[in-house]
Point group: C2
Chain length 323, copies 2
């Protein structure tokens, strides 16, 4: 992902520094949190979300260096994202995420709740120190949206009547809110015109939704080895995503299996087979492609630059990724 | 607490509206959160923290009405406080708090983590909408301090070497940070001079520390009926507070019992007896009185008013309360 031709290349130096800074910021005084921070920021590698912030920073300030505040914003996005992963793991009682032991498994729920709260709190405080009320508003909206997404997901488990619109809204809260809010915030810190800042918000929103749809497709088409979790694990937990919701239209026999929460021995395998047989995956790919296309359109409002091209490449890759 | 002569009297109307507003704010769309919110804000009654904010508001704007932003700040403090209680309950795996079932017991850890995150997030967002960067900084520091306090408490369980200074620092993070930050924020929203705002910060800090010390005394002297938890429950969980730390000075035989985490059948009863026999409770009362006195001194920088008197009364009552 970080070879010379990777879309991360224009901000590679900043991304390398980011992990180290985060470990210092989080773990300064608490050995347990330090261990958690090391684990979180080391194993997860260089993040997509800070890369988006840094690339938008470069693309909106052609000829200028990335500022300290842009770098701090990139760190804040990674802190918020990590905090929400740590709490999601308590909620899902997940033992493994992407093949790596989760904090609540390595330590316990107690440390996971505290570590997440600490990361959210530190992010909120760090955010205020950027001294820009518009940026504070954008990112605190994100901190509010993330649990909203989880709550919606939690309330609609095994609800076969969920519409694609509900699914897209939930995906906004869970994933696209952070990408849209932080892409716009990076532009605001660059001092761009409100119209361009809004284009970057819309870029992040469509990118985030496409990213989530592809994530949801991979739950059916990915390999357990690469995903670090069994195929169909969202489905088995009642998290109904685009492929299932589209499949339900042509395969209504899926509905009773979902409603009985895959209680019979072969229910889950049968449901997975019907979804594969349907055009649900194809329709999901088309929906993701539509949002990738819209994201690209909004990028075209940026002046041409290496970083704009990197954002375009990242957006294209969101569609073809297999992990 | 809310009779005509109560210190809450000058802000009684605002406090009554607060519970209802919070229920509307939190529970608008989610039945589970609504149930949690009803439960949290209804059973806990009128809050001390919003009362402090509203009284400071009145005392710093003599002759003027409490503003909408002051009322919102009061709501924010109650949201932050409630969010931290909800997460503390997951951490302590408490089933009962003050005689009322906790959210994680009534629902489950999943809902408790989400409800807490949602409250923190909503508070952060609502805070940004106050449009005052200094206020955002003050309260986001609080959101960072609360888990810091819990982490410190968690890391020093059964550590008989804890100093009174460490204990006071931990108490600041856990309790006094919210009171100091929000008292100052209320003054900032009133547009007072920086010096007076700082006095209100110091008032809140000393008030909060005194309040926490009294809380910790009540763990030994209160009745299970009133506290809703067994006498000595902090001690049994290894949370070493002022009375124990002072008692250790004259009763060093306490140390091995603490270090073996009260593993022998009579350890806890024996420790409680030694603490009662020591001057630990008396020294703790003196320490609380010292902070009450300091809090009062800072209040004297306010112009005389009914609300200043109410703040003085509240501060005095912090010392004599039995619940």
């Amino acid at each position: 992902m970080t070879s010379a031709t990777s879309p991360f290349a224009p901000v590679e130096a900043e991304l390398s520094a980011l992990s180290e800074n985060l470990k210092k910021l989080i773990g300064a005084r608490h050995p347990v949190l330090y261990a958690a921070a090391e684990h979180l920021f080391a194993t997860r590698g260089k993040g997509l979300r800070p890369a988006l912030v840094l690339l938008v920073a470069r693309a909106t300030m052609p000829g200028h260096d990335i500022t300290v505040r842009h770098r701090q914003l990139a760190e804040i996005t990674e802190m918020i994202h990590t905090a929400s992963l740590v709490h999601d793991d308590v909620i899902d009682t997940a033992d493994v995420r992407r093949g790596v032991d989760t904090v609540n498994h390595l330590f316990d729920n107690r440390v996971a709740v505290l570590a997440g709260d600490y990361l959210f709190g530190k992010a909120a405080w760090y955010l205020a120190s950027l001294d820009d009320l518009e940026v504070v508003k954008l990112l605190s909206k994100v901190i509010m949206d993330l649990p909203e997404g989880e709550i919606r997901q939690s309330l609609t488990r095994f609800d076969a009547g969920l519409s694609i619109d509900d699914y897209l809204e939930k995906s906004f809260y869970k994933t696209a809110s952070l990408m849209s809010g932080s892409a716009k915030a990076a532009a605001v810190l660059s001092g761009v015109e409100p119209e361009l800042a809004e284009h970057l918000y819309e870029f992040g929103r469509h990118f985030g939704i496409a990213f989530q749809i592809v994530d949801d497709i991979l739950d059916f088409t990915g390999s357990e080895e690469i995903l670090g979790k069994p195929v169909g694990s969202d489905l088995s937990q009642g998290n109904l995503t685009a492929p299932v919701l589209f499949a339900l239209r042509s395969q209504p026999q899926l509905e009773p299996l979902i409603e009985r929460q895959f209680a019979q021995p072969d229910d889950l395998q049968q449901a997975l087979a019907w979804i594969q047989d349907s055009d649900g995956l194809e329709q999901s790919r088309e929906l993701a492609a539509k949002h990738v296309h819209l994201a690209m359109e909004h990028l075209s409002s940026l002046p041409p630059s290496v970083s704009r091209q990197a954002l375009i490449d990242l957006t294209e890759q969101a569609l073809s990724r297999t992990y």
